[in-house]
Symmetry: C2
Subunit: 153 residues, 2 copies
DNA sequence: GTCTCTGCAAAGTTTTTGCAGTCCC
DNA sequence: GGGACTGCAAAAACTTTGCAGAGAC
């Protein structure tokens, strides 16, 4: 299911304006990658965007798609769905709990909270499938990284 | 901060019992990897567990740690922190929203829900750092995968 | 003794980087 | 024309796999 045309167009316009504002060039490749990600609500990976864009721009390379999506993410125009970058990490805590994740250094800490443990499952989610667990991620900047940022100002 | 001794010991006992129940062998390497992950609340990656265990078992190899953690995860004794396996995926939806994630096929769908948008940030999380956003992941099995499971029964 | 598990090595995946040419501004 | 961007290729980072020997039961 693609995003509605008007939403998609609004996204594209905002992204192009932001690219321009950042002083970045509006190359053919960048525009097509931007169009593709803006028009999708399937949370595609790099490979998938690459295949879709290649239909219209047969000479585009996979690493350009990598670089373009990274650029859009740096500008805050798209987000990475997986909160923690890098290798897989494991957790031996089997009790229901949630995570604080530092987006700077990747620190992850358990957060226990009964309100979060008992969240109602939205009806719109039940329509998609059987929900087996609910995990809350609190994304932010940990104490250490805040201190480092303060030092560098 | 390590897990309390009594919690850690309880986890280790439960994991060893489960390994035995599954008919798996309690090798020196498996026991040490199990001890290491049970004693940590830092959500370590494979590399980190490897380095820690190598102090006690100098001959252990990295791929044994990979295999052992995968085994523990398959038995449900530990969990992978990053919900979506495989490559990074991107999302152009900048409005606050949440995700339904199919743990079988990796399908991700946006879920909009105002209750989830306005969750209170637990005090215990504020002690860890500045929380910038709250994301809820609803993990489960999507309609397609449920249908496939039903066919194979 | 049997059969699983381990260590080694090699390969597979995903992502990043260096460089020379291209093309936006 | 200048400088950022692209495509290519190679490398780096992460993970999986095949095989022969070692060790748990």
């Amino acid at each position: 299911m693609p995003v509605g045309d008007e939403d998609s167009q609004r996204r594209i316009d905002a992204m192009i304006a932001a690219l321009r504002a950042a002083g970045l060039r509006l190359t053919h490749q960048r525009l097509e990658v931007t169009r593709e990600i803006a028009a999708s609500d399937e949370h595609p990976g790099v490979e998938r965007v690459f295949r879709a864009v290649r239909v219209r721009v047969p000479t585009i390379s996979l690493d350009t798609v990598y670089r373009t999506l990274a650029t859009l993410a740096d500008l805050g125009l798209v987000s990475r769905v997986t909160a923690t970058p890098g290798p897989v990490r494991y957790d031996a805590n089997r009790a229901p709990h949630h995570h604080f994740v530092c987006t700077r250094c990747g620190l992850i800490r358990d957060v226990e909270n009964h309100v979060l443990d008992e969240l109602p499952v939205p009806v719109s989610a039940e329509a998609l499938g059987r929900v087996e667990s609910v995990e809350v991620q609190l994304l932010g900047v940990c104490g250490d990284c805040q201190r480092k940022e303060a030092e560098h100002v």
